[in-house]
Amino acid sequence: MKLEARELVCDYGATRAVDSVDLAAAGGSILAVFGPNGAGKTTLLRMLSGERKPDRGAVRLDGRPVSGSDPAWRSRVGLISHRTGLYRKLTVGENLAFFATLHGVAGQGAAAARALDGVGAGELEGKAVEQLSRGQRQRVALARSLVHDPDIVFLDEPFTGLDPGGAEALEAMLRACREAGKIVVLVTHDLRRGVELADRVAVLRRGRKVLDGSASEHGAQDLLRFFTAGGGAGGEGAAA
């Protein structure tokens, strides 16, 4: 399984948010895309997940073009972001069962319980989301994103607002996804956490990819150079 993006372009009016970015992510690996705020990371992620149609370029899964309007594609995608994406007035179990139903998961109650146990939040099932702490909500959100067992997992700044326990659960879950052969794509400005997890890293600055390489070659210090305006001024040339 391989997800490839070719020459992705996204414009917001006259501003080019993402400028001709190529990326590739393989099954059983974690790709982390770093960049300072406003580098176009989230826009890039939305194009990869099919939520936003690129102005130019294409995303392909195993050579076939990906489109957010294709239900088959959407059922294979899981999304985790810094916003929980849960309904506060519903209980944890109702939230999970709702999304499991819409994803066509058979036996949505059991699937919900399984997903909750997977993130160590089984005891929260009957509680309303609004009664939970921030960390607990994030765990439930994690369970919700995986309730339909997606093949491709996208993470949009997942570490924001996560407590240490939640971060551990997230990291464990991502490693499990890698073991299971899923494609994991992560965008974040949190270099330290991202580098530990990732197999491949890329850096985005002002909409352009300034670095793309394996995580073993590039440490956090190395990547940091590409964040700032001075380092990596050579653009693509500096990429290994």
């Binding site: 939305r46 997940s49 939520e51 916003r83 929980t84 994406g85 994803h103």
Partner: protein, 225 residues
């Protein structure tokens, strides 16, 4: 058929949230009933007979309450970003639109019923005419209101003008609903026979079915990025 099931799932989820939270329903009803209360004060009933104005007042009250409610129809979807995840489920876009419209419709029915009761009580209307006929007029009328409100409720969510833009977008469209609804209801209040009313009701259905269909087709353009 499966599509209909998704509509049910979404509507059920929305209504469950609405009745648990309560805020939006109560605010809509309060707006409607208080407006009726004020109308009773604003009317000089030695000059105007209640029977002549009841229909217009009912429709305008329902319109304002429905519009106020529609501006908040997507609040629960957006407060923690659930809508993004909803759009990533494989269900068709029109099912989301129809499900949310159905939930909105239930709230509008409650508002309509209470408005009707409040107005006839406050204005001292002893004989409001055939209730079946009133129902037959409000059914298509409120479907039209719910569909336009839900559709443009999402549009206005993304506008920096917020709820204030909603009437500017929906009121020009709703002229047929208000016109045919109010004239038909007025005739029921006057106890006119059904053949004098059925033409308006047919046009109300035309709007309701037409806008629901158009909204279903166009919803993906307002929901997707």
């Amino acid at each position: 058929m499966t599509s209909l099931r998704w509509v049910g799932v979404i509507a059920h989820k929305d209504l469950r949230i609405e009745f648990r939270a309560g805020g939006r329903v109560v605010a809509m009803i309060a707006l409607a009933v208080l407006a009726c209360f004020l109308f009773a004060f604003a009317l000089d009933r030695s000059q105007v007979s209640a029977q002549h104005v009841a229909a217009s007042l009912t429709w305008l009250t329902v319109l304002f309450a429905a519009t106020a409610g529609a501006g908040r129809a997507f609040d629960t979807e957006e407060e923690d970003g659930a809508f993004r995840h909803l759009l990533l489920t494989p269900i068709p876009r029109h099912a989301i639109f129809l499900g949310k419209t159905a939930a909105n419709l239930v709230l509008i029915w409650m508002v309509t019923l209470l408005t009707f009761i409040a107005l006839t009580t406050f204005l001292g209307l002893r004989d409001p005419g055939s209730l079946t006929h009133h129902g037959a007029i409000f059914l298509p009328g409120t479907i039209g209101l719910a569909a336009t409100g839900t559709f443009f409720g999402l549009v206005s969510r993304h506008s920096s003008l917020g709820d204030t833009i909603l009437p500017a977008l929906t009121f020009p469209l709703l002229v047929p609903v208000i016109f045919f609804g109010a004239t038909a209801s007025a005739r029921v209040f006057m106890e006119r026979p059904w053949p004098e009313i059925s033409g308006s009701v047919r046009l109300l259905w035309a709007f309701a079915v037409g806008f629901t269909a158009v909204g279903s087709v166009l919803f993906r353009y307002v929901a997707e990025e």
